[in-house]
């Protein structure tokens, strides 16, 4: 069943926005790569709203002293409390396999965002 979330203009590229659809809190992410994702909005760790988290990327380096790289800008959502990192493309907690947030399929139709529940 599809539910209207809002207009794409409400979530500019590189940003996120929280909604409540059928009483379920979700956060919609519009990635730097121009993709839309929807995640359950509560952190599976201590339950805070992920909508207050920080959207960014992740670091890469081979060891102390090596060059740092910063990749996947806009695809990693950091929890606002303890900073766990969630991959917005699949809900997985980076480096903590047992933690995951639910993802929901989204469709865009005529500039409107719809959530599949």
């Amino acid at each position: 069943m599809k539910y209207l979330v809002g207009n794409v203009a409400e979530v500019p590229r590189g940003e996120k926005r929280s909604y409540k659809i059928k009483n379920i809190p979700i956060v919609v992410i519009h990635s730097a790569q121009d993709q839309f994702y929807a995640l359950y909005e509560r952190c599976p760790h201590q339950g805070v709203s992920l909508g207050n988290g920080t959207l960014g990327g992740t670091t890469c380096a081979t060891g102390p002293g090596a060059a740092f790289d910063y990749t996947r800008e806009g695809e990693i959502l950091r929890c606002p409390w303890h900073g766990f990192s969630f991959d917005v493309t699949n809900g997985a907690c980076v480096n903590a396999e047992s933690l995951r947030v639910r993802t929901y399929p989204l469709t865009i139709d005529n500039s409107q965002i719809f959530l599949d529940l």
Binding site: N23, I24, P25, Y40, R42, C43, P44, H45, Q46, G47, V48, S49, N52, G53, T54, G56, P64, R78, C79, P80, W81, H82, G83, S85, A96, S98, L99, R102
Partner: protein, 372 residues
């Protein structure tokens, strides 16, 4: 609460997190660690006399700073704890009231500050003056605003006589429950610091210890923040050892202590190692009259935060090893990034009476009449 076999971490299911909106803990809580602060050092000016006031006014002093960047994604503090007007996290009383006092059934919250006069490595008189000004500021701007708030006296332990004077000045204030000593580069069992304990005991105040920026591990500060942060309990272990070895508990028989924000899962090891060494080496410290573990069990409480996400079964195993349920007290550490939410950080599977001890009873007994 959902726990998968083999997991060490509490995992909330979607339905459970949804239910949290309605479900709040109902038993009372005493929170032993709230880090309030001012919006700028200028807020202390009305509480400072000259020449100290002039030093601030003239910009003659630069506060010590922490050498690491924070990698949480939102800095030292919870991302949602930053006031909308851009002032520092922990500086807005109304936001604190909304996010902690009114969010959970907090009967009392004990302020622990962010500025610690003990962090100043020189000019001790200035450190003491800043501490006094800060204490007066907190009493007026925080403690006076809500009867649920109690606070710590901040002193400069590098000048124990001045610290004792400050404790005598404020020790009987109804909003004050303890003296705060930073865990950094001083071992407080040393008799040099005993005037502080003498004064605290006279006023029936608890001695609280909390790590501060100068803290180093046994090998130094480390190359990375995560290294420094993981090693924080080393400072707490060293302080506990120092108190025991120097005979503080017999010299000040009424004094109670708390170790705040160093966790506690390391405690069984320390108790066992201290006792084992004491049996062999007590000739070196004949003023220590009983097994170290007995002093520690009876006289020191440890705040649970930051909880380490281990299972309820492991909580119970560790508490069994401690041989008492009277040592743990709850704290949130608001507004810092490793904040512990009450319901989600203390496993719900723990027996009700143990949870009541952690959330409330142990702290209530610790502070006694000071809480009114």
């Amino acid at each position: 609460m959902q726990r998968r076999k083999g997991d060490t971490m509490t995992i909330l299911s979607t339905d459970e997190t949804l239910a949290q909106d309605k479900q709040r803990p109902t038993d009372p809580i005493i929170d032993l660690d709230v880090h309030e602060t001012f919006t700028s050092w200028n807020e202390l000016l009305p509480y400072l006399k000259n020449p100290w006031r002039k030093l601030l006014e003239q910009g003659a002093w630069t506060p010590p700073s922490f050498p690491f960047a924070y990698w949480t994604g939102h800095g030292l503090n919870r991302a949602d704890s930053h006031p909308a007007d851009g002032t520092p996290a922990g500086s807005n009383f109304e936001l604190f009231r909304e996010q902690v006092l009114d969010q959970y059934p907090i009967e009392y919250a004990v302020l622990t500050g962010q500025f610690m006069p003990g962090d100043l490595e020189s000019q001790y008189e200035f450190a003491s003056a800043l501490g006094s000004a800060y204490n007066d500021w907190v009493l007026e701007h925080w403690v006076a605003r809500d009867p649920r708030i109690k606070t710590s006296i901040h002193v400069a332990p590098q000048d124990p006589q001045a610290a004792a004077r400050e404790i005598h000045r404020l020790g009987d204030h109804p909003g004050v429950v303890q003296v705060m000593l930073p865990i950094g580069n001083r071992a407080y069992g040393d008799p040099f610091y005993h005037p502080i304990f003498e004064a605290a005991q006279q006023h029936n105040l608890v001695i609280a210890m909390h790590h501060a920026d100068p803290l180093r591990s046994a090998l130094g500060k480390g190359r990375y923040y995560i290294e420094w942060h993981v090693n924080v309990p080393q400072g707490a272990m060293s302080e506990v050892t120092s108190l025991v070895i120097n005979g503080v508990f017999d010299k000040f028989p009424a004094l109670q202590f708390t170790i705040v924000e160093s966790g506690w899962s390391w405690l069984p090891h320390l108790l066992w190692r201290l006792d084992q060494n004491y049996r062999s080496l007590y000739h070196e410290i004949p003023w220590v009259k009983q097994l170290p573990s007995k002093y520690i069990r009876e006289r020191i409480k440890f705040s649970t935060q930051p909880t380490e996400d281990f299972s309820a079964a492991n909580w119970l195993r560790l508490i069994e090893m401690l041989e008492t349920d009277r040592m743990l007290v709850f704290s949130t550490d608001y507004p810092h990034w490793d904040f512990d939410a009450p319901q989600e950080s203390i496993p719900r599977e723990l027996p009700d009476e143990l949870r009541r001890r952690i959330f409330y009873k142990n702290a209530r007994e610790l502070y006694g009449k000071k809480l009114g």
